[in-house]
């Protein structure tokens, strides 16, 4: 090593041989200082380079993220919506949007001609005007088909481009439209669960920049697509058979409050936004409020028994009509004798129900209706909800009487279904939901309304009404269906019309341990054939029965050869 460095070192020494020791030290110092300065300079330079490199490395990812979000915000990504069995109810598919950068369009006239040759429905003059401006960006047409995109791409017009956008697609079309709602062209929810998703979390997610299909979990609903289809199918069938103008159907899990199916026909196709605003296609099940008629007798009987105002063995005078002031209440199928409570229920006696309500008084009636959730507006995940029309307290005697059989109070069918579930599930009011809910979660929100013993009697009465009363046509072999009919006269020009009715049937099964509730409402049903009747027992009861027959196997309800609820129900009828 020494010999290696010899040559340059000797020259250096030779040149400075004459220098004194002092000078040499000074020179050495100066040289070292210079080297130090040079080193420091280079260190700073390289340090700066390294720092810049680091900065680039760190910020590179961010730059990419920003670019990605910019594309996605054009038409926001939405989470898929699936039913309780993970079947797709709504999903995003990618479509192309045709846009122009007018300042880069060289020949607006030629571009207009070419584009309209592929998209003939575009307004030529407006397009020409648009392309002649100096604007940076303008949509020409959104949601074009892949074939149109291909054709325009082949034309190779400068200043014209495509942008990938999310388009909402509902495979079921109208199957669950009233629950799902729909979105606008910017993929924002404007109705139903879609709107709920936006207000509940998607808008916040969007603002934070996390709304991306790769990250978002699908939203699971409590609906069962198969049940939903059956309900809608049977309603359409019933509407046709009984020449009704509208039909509503709800299937509710009585122990959790989950809505398994809800349909209101005529409905709309969620893929077709124009139909959504048609008032005839409104969601009658959640928004419409109606006088539910005799189905309310179930509530009247329950509240009278629960409060102790009447015992199940008590009899009430139904020999004549009941006159209050200038009104006289009569029975539709008059028996003209004293009736026991079960008889009032199965013969659907207006007079009997009125006497039960009078025994309870208007305050008691008010309190029970309140607890059944029938006096307030029902809040679910759906933004659409109808406020009930109820009289003000203290209401007069005549109102107490009419409300006993479901007139003078208008509530939504969904509200009625939730209250009906409380009659048979052991006496708990559980607010209905469109999202999955476990038994434990339901127990946390459940509110006791009736004593369990009252609910037990109500189960038997419901079953009895299908075995012996007006609900016979709802019977389904093996599933122990119980239910109550309701035939309400519609109000026309301020008075009750004798020819136009709104029929309802509220059913639950299996009655020994009710699991599901089915509510069917038909608006203005007419006789199936001339000469036949058009009461609820003839049209809504068999419709509800058909629904039960089809959904019970799907929901895993085991059919029983011998109905355990039958004998107790019959025993109740003969109790005196």
């Amino acid at each position: 090593m020494r010999t290696d460095a010899n040559a340059p070192a000797s020259t250096w020494h030779h040149a400075h041989r004459a220098a004194t020791a002092g000078e040499r030290i000074a020179l050495d110092r100066r040289g070292r200082w210079r080297v130090a300065v040079a080193m420091a300079g280079f260190s700073i330079l390289f340090g700066a380079l390294a720092a810049r490199l680091l900065l680039l490395g760190v910020s590179a990812g961010n730059a990419e993220e920003e670019g990605r979000n910019l594309i996605l915000t054009a038409s926001q990504a939405r989470p898929d919506i699936v039913d309780r069995n993970s079947e797709t109810l709504a999903t995003d598919i990618k479509t192309a949007a045709l846009f122009a950068e007018p300042r880069y369009v060289i020949d607006p006239d030629e571009a207009t001609e070419l584009i309209t040759s592929v998209l003939p429905d575009l307004d030529r003059d407006r397009l020409r005007q648009l392309l002649s401006t100096d604007a940076k960006f303008a949509y020409i047409k959104r949601e074009i088909t892949p074939r149109q995109q291909q054709a325009i791409h082949k034309l190779g017009i400068p200043g014209i481009g495509f942008r990938v956008e999310n388009r909402r697609f509902y495979p079921g079309g109208p199957a669950a439209s009233h629950v799902l709602g729909t979105v606008n062209i910017d993929n924002r929810g404007i109705a139903g669960i879609e709107k709920h998703i936006d207000t509940a979390f998607l808008n916040d997610l969007q603002e934070a920049g996390f709304a991306n299909n790769d990250v978002m979990e699908p939203v699971r609903l409590s609906l069962d697509l198969r049940v939903q289809h059956v309900v809608r199918d049977e309603l359409n069938e019933a509407m046709e058979r009984y020449h009704a103008i509208a039909a509503i159907g709800i299937v509710l899990d009585v122990n959790t409050g989950e809505v398994l199916g809800m349909s209101s026909v005529p409905d709309y196709d969620s893929n077709n936004r124009d139909e959504v605003l048609d008032p005839d296609r409104m969601n009658r099940a959640a928004v419409g409020v109606y006088e539910m008629g005799s189905t309310f007798k179930g509530f009247t009987v329950a509240m009278a028994l629960d409060s102790g105002a009447a015992k199940v063995t008590d009899s009430f005078d139904a020999t004549h009509g009941l006159t209050v002031g200038k009104f006289t209440i009569n029975d539709f199928h008059g028996k003209h004798r004293w009736l026991t409570v079960p008889e009032i229920f199965i013969y659907s006696s207006n007079v009997g129900a009125a006497r039960l309500a009078l025994a309870l008084g208007n305050q008691g009636q008010h309190d029970y209706l309140q607890r059944f959730g029938l006096l307030g507006t029902l809040k679910t995940e759906l933004p659409e909800t109808g406020a009930p029309i109820v009289p003000n307290m203290p209401w007069p005697k005549v109102t107490t009487i009419t409300m006993a059989f479901g007139h003078g109070i208008s509530v939504s069918p969904l509200q009625t279904a939730a209250a009906g579930a409380a009659l048979v599930n052991g006496g708990f009011y559980i607010a209905p939901t469109f999202l999955p809910r476990t038994i434990e979660e339901a127990a946390a929100v459940a509110r006791p309304v009736l004593r369990p013993e009252t609910s037990d009697i109500m189960r038997k009465l419901f079953r009895l009404n299908v075995l012996k009363g007006s609900g016979k046509r709802a019977a389904v072999e093996g599933y122990g269906v119980g239910g109550k009919t309701g035939t309400a006269e519609k109000v026309e020009n301020g008075r009750y019309s004798a020819s136009k009715r709104r029929n309802a049937f509220i059913a639950a099964f299996p009655m020994d341990a009710p699991k599901y509730l089915v509510l069917v409402v038909l608006d203005e049903p007419k006789p199936e054939m001339p000469g036949r009747g058009a009461t609820a027992g003839i049209n809504t009861a068999p419709t509800a029965g058909n629904i039960v027959r089809r959904i019970a196997p799907m929901l895993g309800v085991e059919p029983k050869a011998v109905d355990p609820a039958e004998d107790p129900a019959l025993a109740l009828a003969s109790a005196r």
Binding site: D4, A5, P8, I93, K94, R226, P553, E558
Partner: protein, 118 residues
């Protein structure tokens, strides 16, 4: 010594330069490959979601029901009856097979039927 240091640093600098260029080109190639894979992945995801949408369209109960209705006569289909549903443990035990004599008689009848059919 300094000369050797110079030689070493020149060699090192050249080596570093070659290495840096190598890394640079490799990084570029990897980035390109990553972008390519990402594109392919995006496309696959898109295809998957499209196929999923199509699948859910095909298994819509309304569509299946229409198909069933159309072919119910040919396939002799009828709605499920609650009496047809039962639990396995509720089924009676399978009776023993026919006695050997009966079996012979049975197959003779079946053979005769077959012959007639032809």
């Amino acid at each position: 010594m300094i000369r050797w240091l110079q030689v070493i640093s020149v060699v090192a600098a050249a080596g570093a330069a070659i290495f840096v260029f190598h890394v640079k080109y490799r990084a570029e190639a990897v980035a390109e490959r990553a972008a390519e894979l990402q594109r392919a992945l995006d496309q696959e995801n898109e295809t998957t979601s499209l196929l999923e949408a199509e699948w859910s369209l095909l298994i819509q109960p309304a569509r299946v029901q229409a198909l069933v209705d159309r072919h119910s006569e040919l396939l002799d289909l009828q709605p499920l009856d609650p009496a047809q549903i039962t639990k396995l443990e509720n089924l009676p035990m399978r009776p023993g097979g026919p006695a050997p004599d009966d079996e012979a008689a049975l197959s003779a009848i079946l053979e005769a039927e077959k012959g007639e059919g032809q």
